[in-house]
Amino acid sequence: MSLLDVENLGRTFGEAHAVREASFSLERGEIVALVGESGSGKSTTARMVARLLAPTTGRVLLEGSATVPELAYRSKVQMVFQDPFGSLNPARTIGHHLTRPLLLHRRATRKQAPQAVAALLETVGLDPSLAVRHPHELSGGQRQRVAIARAFAVEPLLVVADEPVSMLDVSIRIGVLNLMERLRDERETAFLYITHDVASARYLGGRMLVMYGGHIVEGGPARVLTGEPAHPYTRLLLAAVPNPRRGSSSTVTRPTGPRPSTGCPFTARCPLVTDLCRTTMPPVTRVADGHWARCHALGKENQ
């Protein structure tokens, strides 16, 4: 039984289907990257897993149960947000941000809190003296480390990281990604890593799920997906990423129209589009061990 099972998750805002039929699972200590462009539904999925947003359809099972009470769920599933300047309360000290979860989940008493806060800051590579500071006195990188320390205050089993490094300077990003990896190794914490940057998903290793138009269109080991992508959209994504080693870039199809409501969401931009694609959503097709994609073209190749 996996740590987290997401079954047929869906969410609509008015008539817009932000997320449709999203299903995947996560094991302890595993990093799964949810990759997609803006509007693909990756953040909405993340917020549903972190119980900040109620799903319209489908459900999220934590250790097999869909009815874990609020506080217990929070002690096992935590979240790190994208905007380092928005995710910390400007009117509160860093110490306050770390003490609250410790007390709420009884990981420390009021008396032990200061040492626990100091330990947390050291774990994320920050000087404990920052506890008395306010967020505006810290740099973007430091704030994001405080956000990670806050998530780890409750010793969670899973951390949902929604674009944790996209607003940081390049030279500081790697530091935070390495920190996430180290915490995964030392504490066997699973990460659901939301990003639009395919390269950073590959860097963290683990599995990768590619989202487009609210659907998960391909899934599999990060190295495999970035090496031999099966789905045309994943190929398009990889071709578009600036790659200094590859030199000149290949031509890219141009979006020709709005996303259709039926069938595969990628029909508007897909070079392999057929009538079948326009009417029915491609089923999940196995490409190799642990590597699958949803594309009618795959079906034909495998027969």
């Binding site: 030279s171 600036p242 031509t251």
Partner: protein, 319 residues
Amino acid sequence: MADALLAVEDLSVEYRGLRGAARAVDRVSFEVAPGEVLGLAGESGCGKSTLALAIPRLLRAPAVITSGSVRLGGRDILELDDRRLRSIRWSEIAMVFQNAMNALNPVMRLGSQFADVIRTHTGLGRARALERAAELCTLVGIDPARLRSYPHELSGGMRQRAALAIALALEPKLVIMDEPTTALDVVLQREIMEEITALRERLGFAVLFITHDISLLIEVADRIAIMYGGRIVEQAPARSFLESAAHPYTRGLLASFPSIDDDGERLTGIPGSPPSLIDPPAGCGFAARCTLASDRCRETPPFVEIAPAHRAACWEVGA
């Protein structure tokens, strides 16, 4: 280069804020040849955007240009009076901003945002200006009917294309692009980058391309300059940039980009954080974070040529 299109000499810009003056650009010199794409890369706070705004003298209080010259086709822009400055703006130097949504006037139709700059500089009638606008739209792949829409009615990609078209309205010699694709998704970024390359080959304008994304620059630029702490620390041809990069900061930066097809080696990034611009450290700004730092680094390293068209400001990599 004798026949440089743009020659910036010893340019400095200070922000006279509340906590003393911060030198955002510190004695920067570089040149752009006609038709060349010079990439300018650096992280936030390195002064690249301030430099971009300083060249066409668009800086406003509290930013002040404190030294240097900016020669365009031989004339120093900093000396021009307001009237002549306005006459060369857009006709010779145009700009594309990062977020086209904010750069386009929200309450004005797209057509008039083309027409007003065309008519100001060419005196054409409104009808003729709108015809020119339609040509520009087709040039960048926008349906001319869109000229009647307002900016909020266009998609992100379309707005950025419109901004590009407006920039090319008067066939300027130099277009300064300040992070033009940073706000776009990677697929859309690829499309706009191909658009820019195709237009450049056709119209032959030079580009000062400013971004934090070095891999993007290596694909599109002819030469790349790296900025840190308000100074240019290295400048080299793009083709061999990956292998020939010498300055410790540039190497550190290149080692911070995970790539699609690497063999999984661990990257380190650069520890520490950028220097304070209010009381900048003496000598080389990168010394505090540099693994090769030594006492010599307390003096400002000269910007010397270490290979043909390849210069760097670092004692360790000097001649």
